[in-house]
Symmetry: C2
Subunit: 458 residues, 2 copies
C-alpha cells in the first residue's frame, strides 16, 4: 500500500514537474521572441554591415573590414572570449565589368547582362566571339559530341523547376550547370560557357556563384546570364541558329590572402568544454551587398548571443558564435573550424547554421539520427506559436557540414524560401529586401533551439 | 460467417477506397500548386490591375475602370456567368495633399507627413494651429477631461504591439484610435486628432484608413501621421509641451455614386443553386496602388476560377468569384451581397475571403462550428506540403462577414503577416512588394480548399 501511494506520489510529482518544465520553456520561448521583436538591434546592425561592407568577397578589403566590425560588435555584446582562426583564402578578382552581346544578322546587336562565375578564368583581352549551342544538361552535351561543340560557346539554359515548393530543391536541380558546366563543355572543345542564372525570377540580374574546373580539361571562361536575357537568347537562337555571342571578362586569380574565422563564446557554466556552435558566413559575392546571403545569418548568430545576455540566461555548455570566412569560394573557414575542433579534441554537441536568408522562418532542417530527431520533435510545439512548423530531416549547411564526421548533430534554420533566389548572388540582395520582423523571428527561433539543446541535451 | 466475410470485404473496400481518395486528393493538390507555380498569369494580371488602376477608392473613375477590367478578365477566363450587383457608394475625396508642421520655439518648424483619415471632414481653409496633447488611449482622455483637452489637437500615439507574432492582432489592439479617436476627443472639446499610423514599420508613410463619427459629437478633422514623425512629435513634446501643430486638409464628401459588385460563376454540375463564394475587394485606398490590399485578393479569387478551368475540374456546386466593392469605406458591397443572397434565398455552403495580402500563405482562419472545424482538420495534411500549417478558429473577413447570419461557414486565407502592415493603406503598397510565387501559392491553396469543400461538403 505504501509502495502504491509512493508510486502515485512519484507519478504526480513527475506530472507536475513536467508541466512546470513545459510552462517554464514556454515562458522562455516567449521571452526570446518578445525580446527580439521589440529590439531594433538586428535590423540596425544588418543595415550597418551590408551598407558599410558590401561586396565582401574573401580576400577583399571589404571582408577584412567586416571582420573587424564583427569582433568589435561581439565584444560590445559581451562575449566572454573572442578569437581568430587564421587561414589563407583565394583572392579571385572580377576585374572590369564584363561585356556580353548577341550578334545576329536577323536581330542585330543586343547587349545581354552577363557576369563571370566565381573562380572563372578570363576571356582573351578583346573578348571572344563564337556561335552558340543551347543545351539543357550534360547528357545532351554528350550526345552532341565534339563535332557539334568544338569552337562554340555552350549555353546551359536549364531553368530551376518552379514546381518545387521549397526553392532550394529547385536550386539543387539546376546548380551543376554552374559548378561543373565549363569542364563538361570543355571536354568537347567548347571555348566558353554561359549559364542561365539560378533564380526563379524573370529578372535582368546575372546571379553569380562559384564554378570549379576539372583539371583534366582546358579551363574555359564561364559566365552567367540573367534569366531575362537567357530567354531572349534562347528565343533568338530558335530563329537564327547561326547567331554569335561576344563575351569579355578580365577576372584574375590573385595571390592568396591571410584571413580568418571569428569565434566568440559565451562560456558554459557546467560544461565549458562542450560546444554548441551557431554560425553564418561573413563573406559574400562581389556583385552583392549580401543582405540575405549571408548578412542575415551573421546577424541571426550574433543576436542569439545578445538574447542570452539580455535575458540573463547562463548556458550550461559553451555557446560559440562563429563568423565563417569564405563560404562562397572555397569553404576554407568551414574546413579550418573542423580542423581546429579535431586538433583540440573539442566536443561539439550541436551546430546550427543560418545561411538560407532572413525571411520568415518556417522551421529547421535536421541532419541528425532518428533518436535525436524524435527528441527534437518533442520541442516542436514550443516553436509553433512563432511560425516554425517544419522540422524535416535533411541537410544543414556548408560551414558546419565538416563537423558531421565527428557525429555532431547539425541543424539549419529554414526561412520561407520563396523569395530567396530572387536575391541570391546578385546585385538585388540589398538591405531593403530584409524585413525587420522576419529577421527577428529567425534569431529568436535559433536562440530557443540552442536553449533547449543546452538544457536537455540531444 | 458470410456476414463476417462481407464485413471484412466492406472494411477492406472502405480502406482502399479511402486510400484511393486520399491519393486522388494529393494528386489534385499537386496539380493546383504545379499549375499555379508554373503560370505567370497571376503576377502579370496583378501588375496590370495595380499599375493601370491605382488609387481605386470607391466612387472614383479608377475603380470603375478596374470593374470593367475585372469583367473582361473573368469573361476571358471562361466564367459561365458574370453579372453586376448595383449599389451606391460614398464618394469621399481627399482634395489637395494635406499639410502638417510642428511649430516649436525650441525646435523650429518641421514638416511632418500626415494625411486625412478616410471619411474625415476637412480643416478650415487655411488650416488649424493648436497645442497638442499626446495620449495613448481613451481612458487617458477621460482622465484628462475637458479642462485639459478643449481647443487642442489630440495626438493618439499608441503603437501597435510588436510582441504579437500575428500582426493582425497588433493591428486590432491599436485600431480604435483611428476609427473612433476623433469623436472620443471631440467629446472633450478637441479641435482635431492626429493618429499614429497603424504599422509596425518605422517609416515616413502616413497609413490611412477609415474613421467614423459618433453623431453625438462635433465632427473634427482626423489625420494620421507616419510613425517616424509620430516619434519625432512625441520626442519634441517631451521637451516642449507648448509646441503647436499646423494641420491643413481639404477633403470633401461628394454625392454618392453608382457602383457595383462583380459576380462571376462557374456553374455547379450537381447543385447549381448552392454556392461557394471566393472573394476579395476591388477598391483600395486613394493613396495606394493596393497591391497587397487587396489586389492580391482579387487575383487569388480570379485564379481559383482559372485553375478549375485549366485543370478541367467541374465543380458540383456553383463557385462564385466575387469582386467586392467598397470594403475600405462603408462595406456597401458586403452588405449588398448578403442582401441579394437573402432576397434570392440562396444557399451558401461556404465563403472564403482573401484580404490579408499576397505573402506566403501559412494557413486559414475558420469562422465555423466545431464539427466543421474537425472535418477541415482532416484535410490539413494535404496543405502541409505547401506551407499551410495554421488552421485556427477565428474571424474571416469584412466582405463575407454578413453571410454569417445565414450560418455560412466562413474562411480567410492567412498569408504570412510580418510585412503586411509595412504596406497597408499607404503609398508603399506597390506591385513590386508582391512576390510571384507567394501570390501563386495563395491561389492554389484557396483552390484546394474550394475543391475539398465542393467534393466532401462541410
Amino acid at each position: 500500500m505504501i509502495k502504491l501511494i509512493s508510486s502515485i506520489v512519484f507519478v504526480l510529482f513527475c506530472f507536475f514537474a513536467n508541466c512546470q518544465t513545459q510552462l517554464n520553456d514556454s515562458v522562455i520561448a516567449a521571452s526570446f521572441f518578445s525580446k527580439s521583436l521589440t529590439d531594433d538591434w538586428a535590423i540596425n546592425n544588418l543595415e550597418y554591415l551590408v551598407t558599410s561592407f558590401p561586396k565582401r568577397l574573401c580576400g577583399t578589403k571589404a571582408v577584412s573590414e567586416a571582420v573587424k566590425w564583427s569582433e568589435k560588435t561581439l565584444k560590445e555584446l559581451g562575449a566572454d572570449t573572442i578569437f581568430r582562426q587564421d587561414l589563407m583564402v583565394l583572392h579571385w578578382d572580377r576585374g572590369a565589368q564584363e561585356k556580353g552581346f548577341i550578334e545576329s544578322k536577323q536581330f542585330g546587336k543586343n547587349k545581354i547582362n552577363v557576369c563571370a562565375l566565381g573562380n572563372s578564368v578570363s576571356t582573351v583581352q578583346n573578348g571572344i566571339t563564337a556561335e552558340v549551342l543551347e543545351v539543357q544538361n550534360f547528357e545532351e552535351l554528350q550526345k552532341l559530341g565534339t563535332e557539334n561543340i568544338k569552337g562554340k560557346i555552350v549555353f546551359f539554359n536549364r531553368a530551376m523547376d518552379p514546381k518545387f515548393f521549397y526553392t532550394f530543391q529547385a536550386y539543387g536541380g539546376a546548380a551543376n550547370q554552374r559548378t561543373k558546366g565549363a569542364s563538361e563543355a570543355a571536354k568537347y572543345g567548347a571555348i566558353a560557357v554561359i549559364v542561365r542564372s539560378l533564380t526563379l525570377s524573370n529578372d535582368t540580374f546575372p546571379h553569380t556563384g562559384v564554378m570549379r574546373y576539372d583539371t583534366n580539361y582546358a579551363k574555359i571562361p564561364a559566365f552567367c546570364v540573367s534569366t531575362f536575357h537567357a530567354d531572349q537568347l534562347s528565343n533568338q537562337l530558335k530563329k537564327d541558329s547561326k547567331l554569335k555571342i561576344y563575351l569579355e571578362s578580365s577576372c584574375t586569380m590573385l595571390p592568396e590572402e591571410k584571413s580568418c574565422n571569428i569565434i566568440s563564446e559565451l562560456k558554459g557554466t557546467e560544461f565549458p568544454n562542450e560546444y554548441i556552435t551557431i554560425g553564418g558566413h561573413i563573406d559574400c559575392w562581389d556583385n552583392s551587398a549580401g543582405a540575405h546571403d549571408d548578412g542575415s545569418g551573421i546577424i541571426h548568430s550574433m543576436e542569439v548571443l545578445k538574447l542570452f545576455k539580455d535575458l540573463g540566461i547562463k548556458p550550461r555548455h559553451t555557446i560559440r558564435i562563429v563568423m565563417f570566412m569564405d563560404e562562397e569560394m572555397d569553404q576554407r573557414g568551414a574546413k579550418k573550424y573542423a580542423e581546429y575542433a579535431e586538433k583540440n579534441k573539442e566536443k561539439h554537441i550541436a551546430a546550427i547554421e543560418s545561411d538560407r536568408g532572413g525571411a520568415s522562418p518556417i522551421g529547421f532542417s535536421l541532419d541528425v539520427n532518428d533518436t535525436i530527431y524524435n527528441k527534437v520533435m518533442l520541442w516542436q510545439k514550443l516553436f509553433n506559436n512563432y511560425g516554425f512548423y517544419q522540422f524535416i530531416k535533411g541537410g544543414s549547411g556548408v560551414d558546419i557540414g565538416p563537423l558531421k564526421k565527428f557525429g555532431t548533430p547539425l541543424f539549419a534554420i529554414m526561412p520561407d524560401s520563396q523569395r530567396y533566389f530572387d536575391y541570391h548572388h546578385c546585385a538585388n540582395d540589398t538591405f531593403d529586401k530584409v524585413n525587420k520582423r522576419e529577421l527577428q523571428l529567425g534569431s529568436a527561433g535559433i536562440a530557443l533551439l540552442v536553449y533547449l539543446i543546452d538544457k536537455y541535451g540531444l
